[in-house]
Amino acid sequence: MKISLLDYGAGNATSVERALRRLGANPERSNSPESITNAEAIILPGVGHYSALIRALDKQNLRPALLDALHRAVPFLGICLGLQALYETSAESPGLSGLHLLTGTVSSLPATVKLPHMGWNQLKLTHPSRLLEGISPDAYFYFAHSFAATHANGEVVALCTYGADFAAVIEKQNIFAVQFHPEKSGDAGARLLQNFLRLAA
């Protein structure tokens, strides 16, 4: 399987690549429209500022190829910013346009809690999840973010609560996304990545 790991120079691509290799996968780091077009699975990692990801997608002209691949039902996994990018826009950079694959916007978590939301937290399952199959409902995952999709809709299969409920796991046909970092989430995270690889195979 040809797995394209989008490396736009601002993310956590190295950690994700390592975690996938530990599972026996052989991802290819890519930053060209051609490699996205030829991919059989696409992973979009990301950490840091929303604008860095969106700007890189447009600067490297990856957006049309990515949208085309997703419409062709190529399996996709977005991680952290890679989840946030699926929405229309983010309060972190209100002028920039997201991928518009999910309705709604990304907003700041409330200032009533310490931000960033940094560390290990649990999930609240709202729908049956293919990504979380075989993972204990008590499992912890590692989060590092201040912005989140705080409105629940049909695509959200698991929520996390920190100041507010927000989307932690999204599954919409071939589109999967997680707000936490499976590549940094120990055994539970490894199992989630393995589930994605199996779903994409």
């Binding site: 960033p116 940094m118 590692y142 920190y162």
Partner: protein
């Protein structure tokens, strides 16, 4: 369900070898940071910090190689620091596999460094390390391993650091560091309650009760220790079970 309190082992290295508290029971080579990292990853550590305490220019490539090898062993977050003075220093450790960097003396000398790093890598990747020492009715910020006063108040500096873009504070009590008398609770509570970002308490840990106290009374979000983990005085797994039994939320290892 809520955010777990983190337990963070710290490896103080001279670039390639762990240099303090290196008598880890059951490890063939207790000074090897890679072997220790693998051990802590398996034992349920929530994060790992690796510091280059020598931080000399000519040892830098060695430290970066250590970070690469340590990162390869981990499925938990890695923070690296010691001698980070510029955007390029930080980029080098992040490219080597660190998720976050700590800045200390260089940020005191040039606070704008915090903003530069935060803009480039995001606030979640920038940890402001502060070495605080009691002075009359407040805590003085010190640099160069607690030997020199930076002539500023810890509380004010922590708040300024957050305003400049730090996403976390690593707060070490110079008074408690190495004493094994327990964390500095008044210091940690004062800082943790005054800033909007997570605070990692450091310095003085020995007993499981010290950890329980720093989370409950000290309002710490995470607690860091070095030698008690390295020399086998305290297992991370047992520590977490101790805390869970006292209703302190922790991520229990499987």
């Amino acid at each position: 369900m809520s955010l777990a309190h983190r337990i963070i082992p710290c490896l103080d290295t001279d670039g390639s070898r762990v240099v303090k508290g290196v008598n880890f029971v059951g490890l063939r080579d207790a000074g090897d940071p890679v072997a220790l990292a693998a051990r802590y990853n398996a034992e349920g550590a929530d994060e790992l910090v690796v510091l280059d305490i020598a931080a000399s220019r000519d040892r830098r490539p060695t430290f970066l190689e250590t970070i690469r090898c340590v990162a390869a062993e981990l499925s938990i977050p890695l923070t690296a620091g010691g001698g980070i003075r510029s955007l390029e220093d930080a980029r080098a450790v992040i490219l080597a596999g660190a998720d976050k960097v700590t800045v200390n003396t260089a940020a005191v000398e040039r606070p704008g460094l915090i903003t530069e790093l935060s803009r480039e890598f995001g606030a979640q990747a920038v940890v402001l390390a502060i070495d605080a020492k009691r002075l009359n009715d407040h805590w003085d910020v010190t640099v160069r391993g607690g030997r020199e006063s930076a002539d500023r108040d810890t509380l004010g500096w922590a708040q300024q650091g957050v305003a400049l873009g730090a996403g976390e504070i690593l707060l070490t009590s110079v008074d408690r560091d190495g004493t094994q008398l327990g964390f500095d609770i008044p210091l940690t509570a004062a800082i943790s309650r005054a800033v909007s970002v997570p605070v990692i308490a450091s310095g003085g840990a020995k007993l499981p009760g010290h950890f329980a106290q720093i989370f409950s009374e000290g309002a710490a979000d995470a607690a860091l220790a070095a030698s008690i983990f390295h020399d086998g005085v305290q297992s991370i797994r047992e520590l977490k079970h101790f805390l869970a039994a006292r209703n302190i939320e922790v991520r229990l290892p499987c």
